[in-house]
Symmetry: none
Amino acid sequence: MNGEIICIGTEILLGDTLNTNSKYLSQELSHLGINVFYHSVVGDNPERLESTIELALQRSDIIIATGGLGPTQDDLTKETFSHLLKIPLVPHHSSLEHIQAIFNCSHSKMTENNIKQSYIPLGSTPIPNDKGTAPGVIIEKDDKVIILLPGPPKEMKHMFSIHVKPFLAQKTETHFFSRYYRIIGVGESTLESELMDIIDKQYNPTIATYAGNHEVLLRLTANADSQEQASQILQPFEDIIMKRMGENIYGGKNDLLETIVGKLLLAKNRSFSIAESCTGGLVASKLTKIPDISKVFHSGVVCYSNDAKENIIGVSPETIEKYGAVSAETAKELCQKLFLHTKTDIVMAITGIAGPGGSTETKPVGLVYIGMLYKGDILVKELRLRGDREDIQERAAKLALNLLREKLNTIV
Amino acid sequence: MNGEIICIGTEILLGDTLNTNSKYLSQELSHLGINVFYHSVVGDNPERLESTIELALQRSDIIIATGGLGPTQDDLTKETFSHLLKIPLVPHHSSLEHIQAIFNCSHSKMTENNIKQSYIPLGSTPIPNDKGTAPGVIIEKDDKVIILLPGPPKEMKHMFSIHVKPFLAQKTETHFFSRYYRIIGVGESTLESELMDIIDKQYNPTIATYAGNHEVLLRLTANADSQEQASQILQPFEDIIMKRMGENIYGGKNDLLETIVGKLLLAKNRSFSIAESCTGGLVASKLTKIPDISKVFHSGVVCYSNDAKENIIGVSPETIEKYGAVSAETAKELCQKLFLHTKTDIVMAITGIAGPGGSTETKPVGLVYIGMLYKGDILVKELRLRGDREDIQERAAKLALNLLREKLNTIV
């Protein structure tokens, strides 16, 4: 089965938008054992759109098109496919209800042009869109499979993984099975050195590492006929990886560090509060993305100014005067004084210099102290991080979350 | 002049590599006034490569192809173009010398297959590659311009900007000039309705809207011979857009809302503090991404639990008991009590239900109150937001920042 991906959108042809949809879909199709032979991008010009789709229908078995499903006059994807496939567009009642409900929820009026989004080709299977208005569709005709999805990556990916992937998996015979490991606290090259022996002789499974956002993603892929056979191929390699890197592995492909840490806090039922200076609320905002976290997350204080450290948390001006706001002593006292307000099981504090300004001869940009108070004991970690302001903030927040993860893992 | 970009590389079709070359080239060509009508990606299969190039030669005046210029047997770009254009490949002496020099430099032996890289189509102009081995070429035949560049972005971009851009600038007479407007607080379809009259009769300039992350990007593009002429074309349309949507426009293409708001806080020299419940520190972490913000950002309190609202900020338990943590009254008191600690010029508070849990019959998921205290006056805004937990948090944070922006704009 040969696939083709068509992305429809003038913004991509103008270079305004990076085409991440093609990469995502290519990767997913290749895991399903579907060869992707072409990517095409075309704008909202009716003739060029038609000729691109016509060519794809001639040369490919599976076509996935993204974009052009919206309410505006430029959105012509469904109309063009319907015309070429000679299938009429008909109203789809529950899609219209979904769109209407979204407008009702926000107390805004649905405009006439939104109704067009709810039309689908006769006999096609609508794909519900939980994250937006325009539904997708699966069309099967003359041994061809055509899948239309909206352009916004968040909507598209969600709909693909929930609805399209299981549908395509039924259509293909050979499969690739992957396991992913998210690794924090070691760089990509260190990781590669640690696993050099198994990387060098890789065949089935294949092994790949991808440098991520201050972490590394490790992929192990088996070519197998069944999930069971894949497990037999993958397990011995997973055992090696876990033995060598286990402490640094915090989760799988779709795991976020904050989700893992939040779930651990909930599972171990430990209350938590944090004082953040240089990370400016980043740890708090990551943790509060997790539903139900209110059961254990008591509070955060973004004590960005010295005044806030002193007047909200109660750090003594002498400590800041003597050791500086960025010091192990201040990190320690932030934990102790915040505990007096919050009485949470775990209290953390982060203070550092994110730059570009604020450095001194002895305290360079990237110097960060992370403190943690648990059962009366205080641990303070000194970090020297590199990168720009945002890198340093992001890395400090991640390493603080990782410190919390390690602590929670020791609690029974 | 109509352009087409072809990227040749199986790694893109497998989803291993993101196609950044097409975005870069599209952007460059659009600035030169060359319409890019198609992007194509194809692998190193000879038949599919040939059919893709054949189609491009039929439909486009300018073709830029990247990839497939290397030494291996899979690298067939030059060979295929030469074959289709009926131009023989001939050795190019100084390109061979350049490749030889690179091998000499690294004290390694040049293998036979590297010689193939130095062949160019007869009569074409070689493009030297300062950052790698494979040269590029410019081929001109029958009113077509074909430009072949290597695949690695670093080599490609360097060669394009130094050699190809000046060459293409001479070929084009008209240029495109764009202005961008970032709009917050109205949806894409509402915006389109507001501007329907000018969108409907668009010709020069063209107008496009792109739905972004809880905001809309509006693009206005003039086809003109000079910057001055472009301004004459664009200004009347900008005037209309500013008149109708001005209050909702916060910046241009590369502006972030938090950067605009942070700069306004600094420019108007107003100190700021915020109490965040449902947004969990998101506003604080966005604002503290901005260098120098410490001059005006005093503190944030992530008062996620009722205990934190009461014991850190000092909201009275009676208010929470009587009206609920998510209420206009609590938002108001959060502002008033936080002011007692921080004494900042502006104090804001956000409390709401981000979901998925926590809703009641009268208080649905998405109900958010934003309070703002300035010069003794308190404004409280009630919002009803849609989407999942992250959407609601992100949208509430953006709308809070926008409220702050609107307030700062009124301060002289």
